[in-house]
Structure formats: structure tokens, C-alpha cells
Amino acid sequence: MITLKNLRKRYSNGHDAIRGINLTIEQGELIFLTGQSGAGKSTLLKLLGLLERPSSGSITVNEMEINNLNSREIPFYRRKVGMIFQNPTLLNDRSVFENLALPLRIAGFSEAETRSRIHASLALVDLLKKQAQLPLALSGGEQQRVGIARAIVCRPDIILADEPTGNLDPELSKDIMNLFVRLNQVGITLVIATHDLALISPLNFRQIQLHDGKVLKTQNA
């Protein structure tokens, strides 16, 4: 379970990106963060992934107050959190397999376990046949699926996705959303930031609309 209490984030330039958000996300829940550009969606995801530190307030993930983690503990927290971005941030000089192997090697999995997990992740995103290819040889949708496969390969408790379909056409976007729904069905908590309401409205999940760093509206499933 994720609990945000009176969460605030002010950047060094004085911009208040998050202005006192209180929110609870149940374990195994999928929620959409919506809102216009500058509403605070990306900042909220960065705070959840500890890419940024909150200015005040608290973030509790599975009974652990993560805003109090020191810099040595953050990497171990990140291993439990899969992050997906609008651009898939892949290493273009490495094969799909090597891209997926990176988090597993960092976490210290054996080669056999690494192969097995990569196989399972690629099977889930339907890219098993492309494991030897370089990312640049793949389409945009395939690259995003590799990014998703990398995010799930360590079997995280939570997946944070920031505009994961932002660069994709509507058909591919639907495929990606369906993939997230399938991941949610195996018990992974997902927090997805998107401004594409048309894409998510047919899906029956909670939507939290942010505006100017605050929760404007919550639309339950």
C-alpha cells in the first residue's frame, strides 16, 4: 500500500510542483494520474521513485516511510519499483536481452535466473523472438514494450509509468494499456501518469486528476 500524507515538493527555483497531496493507493491497485502538463503528475511519480525528495510530508510504501531512506538505501528500494518513461531509456548499443539483464545483474541474480526471468518478461510483452536485436532495430511500440519488460524483470511490487504511450499511435497505446492491465492482474501495483483520457476512460480503474500540484478530482472505478 502507498500512502502520501500532506506531500509537498518545491524545486530549487521556487516552483511548487506538489502542494499538499494526501492519497492512498491499495496494494495491487492500478490508478491513473491525469491532468494537464505542469499539473504535477511527473513530479509525483519522481517522488514515488525517489528520483526527487519531497520538501515536506511523507510517502509510505508497504509500511516503510521512503522519504526517510538514506542514499545507500534508495537503490534497494528502486529494485522493488519498476519505472517506465515516455522514452523507453534503453541502451542502444546493447541487445534487448542485455538491456533486460542489467537490473538483474545489478540485483545479483544468477545467470540461469537472469535468463529465466528475461524469457518470462519478454514472453509477456511478446518480444521473445527479438531478444538478440538492438533497440534501434525495433519499432517505437516494441521499444516501449522492452522498457516495460525491463521494469517487470525484477518482479517489482510497484510500477510507475510516466506517459508511457505519449509517443505511440492509438493502436499501440491500447496494446500497452492492455499490457499494464495484465500486469495488474498478476498483483503488481501500477501508478500511470497520462493525459490521454480517451485511452483510459474505457478502462475501469481509479483516476486521480491533478491540477496545479493538488488533487482536483478522484474518479473511482
Binding site: P75, R78, R79, L91, I106, L124, R182, L183, N184, N204
Partner: protein, 330 residues
Amino acid sequence: MTQPLKENNPAEKAIAEKKPKNNTVNLISIWFKQHQAACKNAIKHLISTPLSSLLTIFVVAIALSLPSALQVMIKNLESSQTSINEQAKITLFLKIGTSEADINALTQQLSTNDSLLEVRFISAEQALKDFQQSSNLGNTLSALKNNPLPASVVITPDTQKLTINDIEFLLGDYQALEAIDIAQIDVGWIKKLFSIIELAKHFAIGVSIFLVFAVLIIIGNTIRNLGQRFQEEIAISKLVGATDAYVRRIFLYSGLFYGLLGSIFGLTFVFIGILWVTPHVNTLAALYDTNINITGPGLNDSFSLIVIGIILGLGGAWVASNRIINRLSL
């Protein structure tokens, strides 16, 4: 809203499986494997950029070989001190007419001194004979009615026990003795040489300190360039849970290899330099009627230079990698 689990798809089932817990043995094995991988990556990088790697190694080698060569030079000069000190023999010229009893008493008194290696009496007759042989003035000297040369006592001080200053002090004591006319030693050039050695020692220390910083900067700069090349990988690695130690590892191994190879090449340069300079030093030593055996860095010195190279490599890499990691602030 919590969705029900669906486990009929094997891939989904696999993703839903929990991560096995690590025990201590596993953690050690993981740590070892990650070091092995970082070491391999560092070697791979060195080989994949042969020109820039060789240039860095050569610059480090030159920077390490200079103080090492100075050190070798100083050690050789110091070890040749014994040979040079042998030139510091004291000659005590006795007053003409000194009785045999006084001479015996004097030589006996000198022989009891532990800090003297040899006390040799040369009679006036023997001195004349030696002079005739060495000067080619045999006939002229034979024509003299009286032997103009005095008897003398030649003393070899123990240079393990006495310094040049001690010997000079001793000379003053002998000069005050009743039977001694002149006490003589030529230590001026030896003193000058030792002053030069002292100066060289200070110079070597200064150069060493300067070059230590130079090596740190060279390796640090190389690692910084390496960091720029790996910037994207570092950022992604940190996003997926890499610790600072994990990120730092490849840089530390690279620094270690630069330091290790740089010091080995540096040692090679020193040995080549010794081979090149030895004939010239021998010629110079012969001019001073002495013998200087040039020896290269011993096993201990070679090992020390390699350890210093490795420490500098690691130090430079540590500083540079910390800057790379801090700049990312992930």
C-alpha cells in the same frame, strides 16, 4: 481497485513469483561476480580504446618513472658512499727526528681506536722509495744527500662508524699530538658531493609530490572521460537500482589498471635508463678513482612503486567517479 490474479499464463505466473531471499553465501557470491564483471568491463574498455589507454598508461609511466629514477640515483650515490669514503684516508706526517719509541707509542695508541680500520706506518725510507717509483724522478732523488720526506702514518677510518664531520674532528685531535707535524685529508670534494646528494634528495621529494598530483589528475581526467562515455548507462543503472558502489566499480578497476600498467611501464623505463647511463657513470667514477656500481630498483622498491601506482590509480578513479555520481544526483 485490486484485480484478481490470473495464473493460467505461464509468463504471468513467472512474473508474479516472489524473489528468493539471499543468504550470506549468496551475497558473497553476488559481490564476487559483480567485481568480476566490473573487472572484465574495465579490461574490455582498455582494449577497445587502445590508443587513448596506451597514452594514459605511458603518461602515468613517465610521471612515476621520474621520481623513481631520482630515487635510484640517490640510492646508488649513497651506496657508493663507502667506496668514496675510502678516499678519505688520513695521512699523519711525523715530525722529522721523531724517535722509534714515540712512533711505536703513537701507532699503538691509534690501533686501540675501534673506529679506525687500518693504521699503517710508512717510514721515511719507504716513502722515498714509493715516490721514486711513482714520480719517475728516481735519479734526481738518488742524488739527494738527505731524505727530505718525513715518516708518516696512514689511517683508514671506519666509514660505517664515522661521518665526514667525525673524521674532520678526528683530524683536529691528531693535529694536536706532539709527534705530528701535519695531519692531512682531502674531503672537500666528498663534502660537496654529499651536499649535492642532499639537494637531490629534497629535489626528488618535491618532484615526487608534484608528480603524485600529476598522476592523480591524469587518471582522474581519463576516468572522467570514461564517465561521460558511460553516462547513459550509469543513469539507467541507477534508475534500476544500482548502488554508488556498483557504478563506481568499473571506474576503480580502470584506475587500478592504469596505475598498475603505468607503474610496470615506469619501472621498465627506469631499468632501460640505468642500462643507458651505466657506462657514462663508470667513466665519471673512474675520473675520481672510485667505483660506483649502478643497481636498479630492488624487489622491495619495485613492489612499492607498483603499490604506489595502484593506490594513485584507485585514488584518481575514486575522486573522479564520485564527481560523476554526484553530478547525476539520482
